[in-house]
Subunit: 333 residues, 6 copies
């Protein structure tokens, strides 16, 4: 019978926390310190996030390393090193797959998925155009689809790569679209519909059931852009009297949401709503890249260079903004 | 003494309007119709916008064309042709420069500039960080600067190329930034300050006094990115006890707002506020490109291909979204 | 009542031909020779091609030029000038639209469309996989579709921009695909099906009924890549028991035929058949660009630089290949 | 004395084969399975291809890995794992270089080189232009050159990287060129000559004698494009009365065969034959990339992403095309 | 009999000059001023340069414009307008080709060609390596070649597009190379040889005998990079005992001098001398682009945007560098 | 107390040298030879350069490798292997940080820094424009700045990445600029000032005090281009009566020295001096990349492909240039 995870989850760790829990260990490697003493480095992952970890005084069976990914039971303590949170592992035991519940270790949104789903459903009820409302209703009434939509990750790795990530991204885009509809002369219904469902093809492009995220064969052959438009079009075709011009604009908005052909949209946005859906999608994705990259970086520190934004990112020290007596941290010698 | 403009201004024209007014005529050319009859085409510009115009039955002095740009008095009638508003000119007289007030013909925002300025001033008063508030106060208290900021165009041609355009763009970015500050974990003061002043260097990069918009010599040699950062930095340097970290983040945000080095930012955005200022600037600029390109296009019509977005843009027919009985307008034969 | 075209059609002109016929005159302009004498230059177009033309001793009504495009009756003589065929016009009369049959002047394939269509139908009968055969049969039995397929141009301007051009291009791709199926280990049915129908979306993307070629609104919003896949998918969906894997491969092949995302394919080719369909399409298109650009260039001459291949093209002098006593034509001084 | 290779060669392995043979082992590494047990992974190469291999129950001298590349004697069994053929090694012995015949392990075409050479020689005899025929004859009569041409690889790594690869590629291009000469209005002699000899510079750019393929110094300094044109030009210069125009066209065709300057052609193709030689070269190279990348992938499987085409490639399941009752292989959960 | 040019040549014009001379008039067009009065604009070209010109009070035969290019006799006066020198034409007469000496109107270097040639010959005598010296001697002893080298333009339009331009460019590169040989550890002989002869293929790529500069057919098919290497290689092949390594390095240096494959070099520079020859060539070309673009621009003025460097160029006002009391020329309003 | 380095420094090693000295060992790894015997590879670094090293007969504590970077005492012998210098290590001892003087191991220019600084100071005294001279004097009189300028590296890794590297690069650019001022019509003062100080922002962008080179936070947020212009501008602002036009030109020259916006210059060079400063900077940087990449490569050898120039580089064999009897080193078999 699977073990229950003990204290703590990754999200709850802070410098000083003593922990005894289980994780998925990834990227394990044995190195040596400056005195030549071997130590083990790895990432500890659970559904709430990931954290770097190190272990010294290795038992014999770990001297040659740890075959990762592996489920492990860990005892140790969290502390901060050069502005990044780390776990110093005291004891480590490899667990058999039967001992764990896989879903505890698949990255999963920390947000309240039920609340996000309801926020989206409320937006659908607010549509003024009855055809758009019918289309929305038709889609969310498809129980299998709606369940998948609320579970799917938004990507395999770039941003929102977690169970519920698509829902999070869609809700975030919805909120921004709502604000833009107050500022610009757009068709609010179309803009919000697009904000919610532009990435809907991800439910077929990706799989998330086997303990990891992967591309499906039809995802690789057709892509989420076309799969999403197909999915919505099948609902539009099934609705009696759905206006042709409306169907055309919705299909355009879905097909063009990548913004440029080199990112997989067969046409670029040519209506104001399509343009805005692309810009909102891009904005929310880039914010997520910043936030996810800098999760464990402390104030005043820099992230690694190697992340989806392709540059080291700075996490400012909010305290330093108030006070002019801060020491200059730039010593050039 | 300059003539007062008579009825109408460009913005007031609708199909059927009979007009008798003065304009700046640009892009004038004599062509012939399918029967070989010569006619004159031109654009009629005033501070409220521009409209295409045609004139048949040319008097002798117009048979060889019209040297444009030229101020002209015009009588005629507006009508719609292939989805675009046009003026059919009956009579045309070339005016001497002394007969007109130049500022009537320099494109100028239609928005209420006083209200926009007050919206921005209110935002400045809402800043929580006293240093940012002091900086804002220092800038808007510089009367010469603030007047220029409220008058400057946001560009020479791409978008918001009109007197007051910088103010319009800044206020629009401010509104969007305000909404984003509710959605994302950012420093609201810095985000709003950046939204307002990211393009402040335009007041030195461009000139708008000689009846047209032009680049200044320092604008071409240093560029608005550096000129803007310099301008804000001179205020920060003058404030006692302005925190170094804060000055660094504000300078970074101003220098990086173009988003990519190829667009003239010496560094790419590396803080969340800098990233968002860039994204908001880009979003508002692209929406303006769409709106300005499609101003005179009728529902269901397409703009020209040659515009800042580099593609023909569609102006959907809102009516067709409601009704499924619309005829298919795509006859392929 | 429309006039019948008299002798000659453009394709029949050779140096020395005296002609008296009607054409669509385009790109008309009045210039002056080195003695200051004005002359008229234009292109004469009919369904069989186009040729440059010049006219001296202009009557008064032509001194100010000719509003083009215009249907014109012409008398004159063809001759060669600097390696390119030209018509020297003696008399020219502008015709009213009622005097001509528009289809005589819309560029149209010179090939035997019936024979090309039969070649394609025979290929369809040769398919070994019954599902592919059924799909083919389903498509060509749709009379409205098949008529459109045999009439449509393959493009608005790049290559095969003529009535029947899509049929020509498809048949040419079919022949090459047939040869490749002998050389490489491919699924012949899929390769040939793709060679024939990869551009099938052009029948909805383009219109060719109003005396010229144009994009439709759905063509601009969705693009021929998606429109073509949609069209074929609707036939596959209607066939009972059509294998899912087969449908997936055919959809992939249609969606990926542009080869790269920047040319409008949402995914790049990932099966051997998809790769070959793209390569064959590209090969035939480039050959057509060469052939169409150099139509009127004489042996030893160079085309203009401004053509779809973006470089001046050489038409070698076949005679010079046989004989080593040719004079060196490269005099550098 | 070198050992004779025993059963089997790589090409003969199928799931279930028990083998006892010698190979070049490359990319050897020791890993651990999920229970922490160490095992050895490597590639086994011989002239007929390469296959992945694994070995468990490592003897002590292999626990720290295997210095690769190394010639090894192997006993084991072939089987299929996740759609790719593998060898499970039971026993492994490192061989001294004197024990093997190096040429048994250098990748070598499986095609009949004599037959390919004869196919090319027959094509040369079919040329109608006597000068082209003389040139061809002059080249193939140079025994040292012709031997090298029949032995050289076509590349160091991208495609046809095997002894005889240049011959294979040339013969394949020849066949396609032969088909194209039936479809397009080209000079057949030049097209076929170019198809055969466009890559002839590879015989000087590459070396293949020291147990591996490498670039020569003149290959790196001058490149195969110029080296090939030089080689052919030296034959043309030696032929009396060779027409200048013909020499120019052949040189152009050789120099421009890379198609674009960024791929190393000093000029882009400007004659129809040059254009076609480039397109045929490109087509055959890309097909080879697909075929070589997917050699060991089973039906329904995907290749790695990292290959010359830069994308994962799909090997369809031919069986699934016939039958509509296949289960949906896309489980999204 | 051709007329002798009277006073003045273009290079001798300054504001205030009254002139009576003959020129090649190009780019002629009739426009109208702000009062509607027609005037003629054109460029006046002779071997010493070109200058903009305008003519008012047009005689009847010029009202319809001037067929250009045309040789013209002109009376008028030079003056400065908005920082650029112009000629105001009082009288204009079209000349017949027999009345002029074509070479007076083909742009020609103002430098002393004899002195430049001697500078190069002296450099050749200074080579220490006897093989390089022999090669140099062999080339400059070929009278036909050396005459062409001293006459050829360095390009058709980008920079040094004038008779003697290749000589000028080569001598300028030689001087810079001479200085670099003092600073860097290079083979001076090879660097200087490359500086002098890297563009030698221009003598075959271009023609300059028919009153204008043009590409030859072999220039378009083979390009100056290969033509130059061929030319030098033919001399190296003819010299007994020329070291193979030396020939290889010289060929590499000639083939790689464009620096990147996209600019037509089949290989990039891989020796220090080859790298420097490319950098010197590029440096001198860019300086020439600046100088030629700004020839007629006055201090403090800006060139047009449309020139080989792709940006407006500034001609600073040297006087303003000395004196701090200059008025600020940037009026932003 | 730190140990003094014994014989030898890296720069003094030649094939055959027996050494006993201390180094910073980096990139250490244990491999096995073809007989399975383990050996250690590493780089030995000191302030004079770096060299590859190998060690066989490993003592037990080294069998598992060496944690690098580590300070090590080494005994062994230098020799050449495949054209590259190597050290064969006999004995190796890990040193504690207290045993070494860190600055002995930080890469440092071999040039005479005092002489370079004096060369630059002399150039400053030679300026004719008194304002430029005052500016120069103001900068070099700032003792803290001048010390930093003479110590800073010119980059973190691309070229001149060593203590004193900025000084070396600046002096080298100065020499070339001096030669160019003789050849082209430039303002010598501005060109030389720019050559010396274009990279001055590096003193704030980089730090070099902690035993390695790194970016500072303000370096990453503002970049050396803006930091350098700021630094010089603060001096110009402090000088009374500094001409505005001169300040503008100097700021432009500093801001534009990267040449293109994608390399971090907000504007491209638009004056001749700015253009030349960029070209000289680029030239010297590329030469340094060649020289530093090929330091340890023997005549006739090739560098690795992976270096800042992105291609394998050739080190020619000077001897082979003299003698034609060299054997052909290109055996293609």
């Amino acid at each position: 019978m699977p073990l229950k995870k003990e204290s703590y989850w990754v999200r709850d760790l802070t410098p000083g926390t003593k922990l005894r829990s289980s994780f998925l260990a990834t990227d394990a490697a044995v190195r040596k310190d400056s005195r030549g003493v071997p130590f083990l480095t790895m990432k500890l992952v659970d559904r709430t996030g990931s954290v770097d970890a190190l272990m010294w005084r290795l038992p014999d069976e770990l001297l040659k390393g740890l075959s990762s990914p592996a489920y492990v039971g860990v005892e140790g303590q969290a502390h901060e090193y050069r502005g990044t949170l780390q776990v110093k592992v005291e004891r480590l035991r490899v667990l058999r797959q039967e001992e764990v519940s896989e879903e505890d270790y698949l990255p999963t949104t920390e947000k309240d998925r039920r609340a996000l789903a309801e926020e989206i459903l409320r937006a659908g009820q607010s549509f003024e155009n009855e055809h758009v409302r019918d289309l929305f209703e038709s889609m969310v009434s498809d129980q299998e689809f709606w369940t998948a939509f609320c579970e799917a990750p938004a990507a395999k790795g770039m941003h929102h790569a977690r169970v519920g990530g698509l829902l999070e991204h869609s809700a975030s885009c919805l909120r921004i679209a709502g604000a833009l509809a107050e500022v610009y002369p757009v068709d609010r219904d179309l803009l919000l519909f697009g904000a919610i469902f532009h990435d809907v093809g991800k439910v077929r492009e990706l799989s998330w059931d086997a303990g990891s995220f992967a591309y499906t064969t039809e995802g690789r052959l057709l892509g989420h852009v076309v799969l999403g438009e197909r999915l919505v079009a099948s609902h539009m075709n099934a609705l009696t009297g759905f206006p042709e011009e409306l169907a055309l604009r919705i299909s355009h908005l879905l097909l063009s949401h990548q913004g440029e052909t080199e990112y997989g949209s067969p046409e670029r946005p040519k209506t104001l709503e399509a343009l805005l859906v692309h810009l909102v999608d891009n904005l929310d994705a880039r914010v997520a890249m910043y936030v996810e990259t800098t999760t464990n970086v402390s104030p005043g520190g820099w992230s690694h260079h190697d992340n989806p934004l392709g540059r080291a990112l700075y996490v400012p020290d909010a305290a330093a903004l108030e006070d002019s007596n801060s020491e200059d941290s730039n010593n050039h010698r």
